[in-house]
Symmetry: D2
Subunit: 349 residues, 4 copies
């Protein structure tokens, strides 16, 4: 169940400490220009090595394995892979039977009956989001000229993000953060009724990013404290422009032409250097666990580009779907595609 | 795209002021006891007619059309229908070209090029959630003995919900609310890696309920302001019980055996009796709109049972899926199903 | 798993002797003209009552429950229902524990552990194809001006179909048949690489019609006896017109612009009036079974319109999908949809 | 749309003359033993190099990139890749604008507007079936102890396959063939009602194998010439064993416990060394085409193992699904999930 999308579809695979990881992108239209360097900017934004992020720095050189010919997409599936190189598995040996608090370890152990790859979170690792960033680069090309932009707006409860990170660094602890994402230039009517609203699909993919614990659109949780007379965005022109944007650019699950806006809550990194109590699943005894390894103090700092990718993947899917619904009759009349090509061909059967 | 689920699948249809609406449930196991009266309790909770909710009161008598035989599910699709009876379409005639602020009207008009059923929100109406409640009743039977319970914990920013409603009633305005939902008794390991995390699937279906603008799991947005040492839930026994439940019962996208907990933000009802400015899409001129019709002042009051249904539908799907993953080898050894039945049958081809 | 399609999606439900049956059609574009009388012609072709077909004649008046407004599709799901009226369940009482040879009875009993609706085949009945015919009517409108036409070309091994039927009627037996289906006017390139070839999707839906035991495209099984030099269809113009049509209008799984052609093998009706041996599942003893009820002698005579519907449903789905792949760049340049609408909208978030 | 399956899902990618190709397998249960050497036997059967098959011989060493840990599946997606090594692209340079008769060239050119990888058939190449064989090896482990076996039963219309190949070799021509596939040891009731019958799913995947033009189950096309009294398979014991197997092991779309049997028609290889007429898509002029490259004379000789894989993939999917439907109440009793509700099930079956 590592797949997402209806038309523009992504399939993710790989592990943190295995051979590598990657993404298989299906449903990408043919003829899109695409080459290695297109990925580098966004991948660099996701990398560690900066203050507040992990010391593990992978080269993250994507390898394009299929679906590309003469630097254009061919319409066939695109496979993009990353090799794992900077691995220190010994850091994780101790964790085999001792689940880390706040991690997937215990659940994965039980779900997969001990057969899962437990090294560095295995398939549950945040490292898999590198594949999502790759898909995001492709998706951003599809949704252009619409633009998507995310940034950390608060960390550890403070707007002064740098200072918050420095403070917690000294305490061997970690902090959470809030990220805001904005998409400009979307046409009206993207989204599908009922189950596949824009909010539904964005929330679906966003909650697959490890560590996200909340999402809100437009005024979000603040809406719950507003009155209708305050919250309703008055429509000011026939293009649907509204005076305010409490709805976050979405009404009835469809884009309304105003900027799409959402915020997510990122929990603090669960891996901290402090000693924490847990249980040894083999012996059943309590254990004091000290997590070594290399970790982010505030992994949210690496997530804005991942959120952009998540949003772009959803919107590319909606945009491609949109070419269908409600446009058939018009285009039939306009370009009468079938009438010209078909009809006459009455060859011997 | 009015479908949801992988194994336990629901397909929703209908309009607010058309002939009726309903839900088609596929993938329901055979042999579940099910009859009309099973639905009545939950449907009554969704009904209007109480203080703060709409004066439109439909009978909401579900009609079971297929998939039932001798009061048991047969394994074939279940269709459950509701007829619309208490319709006053004239209330909506004015809205044909004049989109109501805060509603889907404008987006639907553009997406479906004017062909949509605009009466009472048409297919976008909250009335379709009656179908979801029906699916929830079936799903609750599948996930039992796990229990799901939702309630409004705050309306208009106040914990005193009744008073908040009374106050806004006088002002011809509406209010939003926050609803909390809790599921107890789930086994460990429900959920699927990456794209189909428990949070992803619950958020997906929850955002298809009209008017939801935010969701958070466990400590949610408060997590973003916490430190790792505070947020991490320490594991205290080999069943995964944790000392605190900041994670809301989910780690790495999988249930961890503790209560599943989420909260949603519901916006204030957009239909208010006050005059609001909008645009006439035909003339392009601004209009003063006074919405008549019958509306909820705080439609969130009718939503707890809908949220329960949404959660139950997701969890039933996960539970049915869970019978597969990671259990194959064990069951092969244990009940050696195929070995007994198969193997020998070597009949003439 | 009673669903089919990616964009144009159909969900089937109901039983032969329950309240009724029907089809839920999702993904139908808005604005298609559609009314009751559009269905009557094709439904009449599926009806029994003619020589060689069952004496059970249902009115088969379709009821349109949703997705229609002012005789146009709205873009929301279409539900079309049939009530069952001409039911004589007593004919089937004997069959509860005694599986009929050649029927689903035994398999259904085991799969659903006895909870299935066994009356008249229940959910496995050929009567459900009435829903497919309804979907076919809608699909034919989408694929127009392409046309689809099927006919019985052989029954009981003979081209003289009427005489073959009369002969077997006297013997209280039944016969199978071969039906040929031809689609003219399709554009080039419908179909999707690898798993969703045109042959794959047509075969998938065709084998869901009860009683089909084989399908072949173009020269089909005869191809296996040909040489490449005979079988290859030489291309004679830049529109892809070929000199012969051994490929049946499909190369590499994609339509090639020539008429799409396939034939199916329909088995003889398994319900015959003669006494047949079978097993009583309760007692484990052999039984002599005489099937009463009303049955088709050659149910294939009612299938051409069902096959047309099946083909049309697949092709409508492909046609809607086709609006996406490989057309994005061109349309982006051509109608620069987003550039006009988007870009400038930079409202306060 | 390069994906197949509901629970056991395969995603295929790659090109004939690109970097490589492979398959991503999702939904494989954790704990299955799996290592490189498991693949070698079946891959060897698919290889060329034998009389009647292509001179292009790839090493076909599969590389397992993810989803494996300590030689067991982990429950995470399995990626298996093949590198292309024995490539001679110059053989195909001439084909860029000149579609080969009987190939996907023309359709792909039009569908992807010239952006497709045209080298050696690109993504349409039969070489991609190597990925399917890999998935088949995994699937065979899941369906064991059921066994699947396919063989060529006729080539060029003759049962003496070797002689038929030798004869056509001299004529610079190619021949088609018929392959028969048999699965033994399946339990009763695999398959899903209506759209996902066993025949539907097997036909779907089989027609994604390049060159298949027909499929029949059991007596297949011969059924169309039989009477009901001949065709009906009489049931002889309570396990569903039948006296004959005209149904090919399937009734009502479900397995009936008897051997599953199907045959496919494979067309002759379209690439022949003889000169063939075609069209230059650039100039619009007719061309005489002589296909060089290295080709199979009867590529059907390499397909039996591919067909086995296709059948195994479908059946693994059905088997995993089967753990759900109709088994819930019973298993609930066993593992105490629903002791309260289930438990007593002593209803009339």
């Amino acid at each position: 169940m590592n797949s997402f999308g209806r038309i523009f579809r992504v399939h993710i695979y790989g592990e943190s400490h295995g051979e590598g990881l990657g993404i298989l992108i299906d449903g990408c239209p043919a003829g899109l220009s695409l080459e290695l360097k297109d990925f580098l900017g966004d991948l660099a934004r996701r990398k560690g090595g900066k203050k507040g992020t992990t010391a593990r720095v992978e080269d993250d050189v994507p390898q394009m394995k299929s679906g590309i010919f003469h630097r254009r997409t061919t319409g066939a599936p695109l496979l993009v892979e990353f090799k794992n190189t900077d691995i220190r598995t010994e850091d994780y040996e101790q964790l085999k039977d001792i689940p880390r608090p706040g991690h997937a370890d215990f659940c994965a152990f039980r779900k997969f009956e001990g057969y899962h790859d437990w090294r560095g979170g295995g398939h549950f690792s945040g490292r898999l989001t590198a594949g999502l960033v790759v898909a995001g680069v492709v998706a951003k090309k599809i949704i252009a000229p619409a633009t998507v932009e995310a940034k950390v707006i608060e960390a550890g409860g403070s707007r002064d993000i740098q200072r918050a990170v420095e403070k917690v660094l000294k305490d061997n602890d970690s902090i959470g953060a809030i990220i805001e994402c904005r998409v400009r230039g979307l046409s009206v009517g993207l989204g599908e009724p009922f189950f596949d609203s824009v909010e539904s699909m964005i929330a679906h993919i966003v909650f697959s990013i490890p560590g996200i614990k909340g999402i809100e659109f437009g005024s979000g949780f603040a809406s719950a404290r507003m009155r209708g007379s305050q919250h309703n965005d008055l429509i000011v022109d026939t293009e649907g422009k509204t005076k305010t944007n409490h709805a976050g650019g979405i009404n009835g699950g469809l884009t309304n032409g105003n900027p799409l806006l959402f915020r997510v809550a990122v929990k603090p990194t669960p891996s901290i250097s402090r000693i924490q109590r847990t249980i040894n699943l083999k012996t059943g005894l309590r254990e004091d666990l000290e997590i070594r390894g290399r970790h982010d103090i505030c992994f949210a700092l690496r997530l804005p580009v991942v959120l952009e990718a998540a949003a772009a993947v959803v919107l590319a899917d909606f945009l491609l779907l949109e070419r269908i619904s409600g446009r058939v009759l018009k285009s039939k009349n306009r370009d009468s595609g079938l009438k010209e090509k078909g009809g006459k061909d009455d060859f011997p059967g």
